[in-house]
Symmetry: C2
Subunit: 204 residues, 2 copies
Amino acid sequence: MKCLLNESTEERIKAAAAKIFMEKGFDGTTTRDIAKEAGLNSALMNYYFRSKEKLFAGVFDEMCELFFHGLTEILSQPLSFKEKILALIDHDFKIFRENPALSNFILNELHRNPERLIDIAKKASSIRSTVLEKQFNDAVASGEIRNVDIKHILLLIPANIQFIFISKPLTMKIHNMCENDFELFLDEHINVVKEMVANYLFLK
Amino acid sequence: MKCLLNESTEERIKAAAAKIFMEKGFDGTTTRDIAKEAGLNSALMNYYFRSKEKLFAGVFDEMCELFFHGLTEILSQPLSFKEKILALIDHDFKIFRENPALSNFILNELHRNPERLIDIAKKASSIRSTVLEKQFNDAVASGEIRNVDIKHILLLIPANIQFIFISKPLTMKIHNMCENDFELFLDEHINVVKEMVANYLFLK
DNA sequence: AATAAATTTAATCATTTGATTAAATTTATT
DNA sequence: AATAAATTTAATCAAATGATTAAATTTATT
């Protein structure tokens, strides 16, 4: 074994890569940045991962997993449509609060390399094709929720959660917030979002 | 004069730069990309603008102008608070529909170079400090609109507009849309957003 | 302990990239 | 037309960057 108190070299590289890639994106990151962050010789990066591109792909997959794992779990639980929507909002909010740069990271990469859309879209589609869509149709039929294409709902929710974090630096600057102010603002805002969405979707 | 049928060289460079920078961001763009797009020798770029950074700054300023100009105009018009909010949504939607990559471009740059937050925040703050905030307070006092911090409103609106475009490739892929499908979806979605926001904010 | 295998490092390569230079060409001025 | 100024180009530079190599070091196996 070569690891002392610290984790394995491979993990250190991946952690450093995740940090830098999340902060600066693929184009803005140099392999030397990563090596420096990990406190390692930069050739090691290519010893464990074969290239910058492959290292990035590993980080990207991990981040997607982080986001989608909890999501599919929620949707497979025995909850009503309304409960699922509200749980979904809570889940999104929790994940992105813990990883404020996550949304930026994923959406930017999808923009830079649309190839990845194929994988992501598959995962995202499976969300629609779960029991959720049947529950949705039933709820519409029973007049429980507004008759609106589910596509709109599946856009509204991430929009109202993720954009908070995408625009976080701007919001903080405009309203002169420190980190703590922003956290308080977040708590309020999530309630605003939940109430607004519930108000709109649920008819009684 | 050196221009034949086409615009001036300076304008051609700026237009090419705008196109490439908007598509690939600062880090993802090379000066040779821009020169090629403009059909010019790459040294000309440094003859007219002094560096890649300065050329980018010019494009960035122009894009900000594009966004903020119409906005301040709306807010200075003699409209009610409700009318202003709805006009603001329409304006945002129009601008970003015409420039789907705009939101991404600006938010990414603010992330890459937080220095620019200073300028932008100043412009954005002036929006709050216009008559809008007084109108808002009056409308809250009269029970016309919900008593919610205006900061939340000023986040809700861009979130529900801009995120559509930030996540456009993903939405199209998930729901198997072509450009035309997406445009139709946009038309529907803007109505969803307007109704949802109005539903939440305006109490009677 | 001796040897083999795995891990780590320093040095270096080949490209790419932002920028400059000096010459060539075009346009304006006299 | 002759000259000066502005514009454009080809060639090139220096630094940065992703990647490789060969040697050094550490760890595992016999």
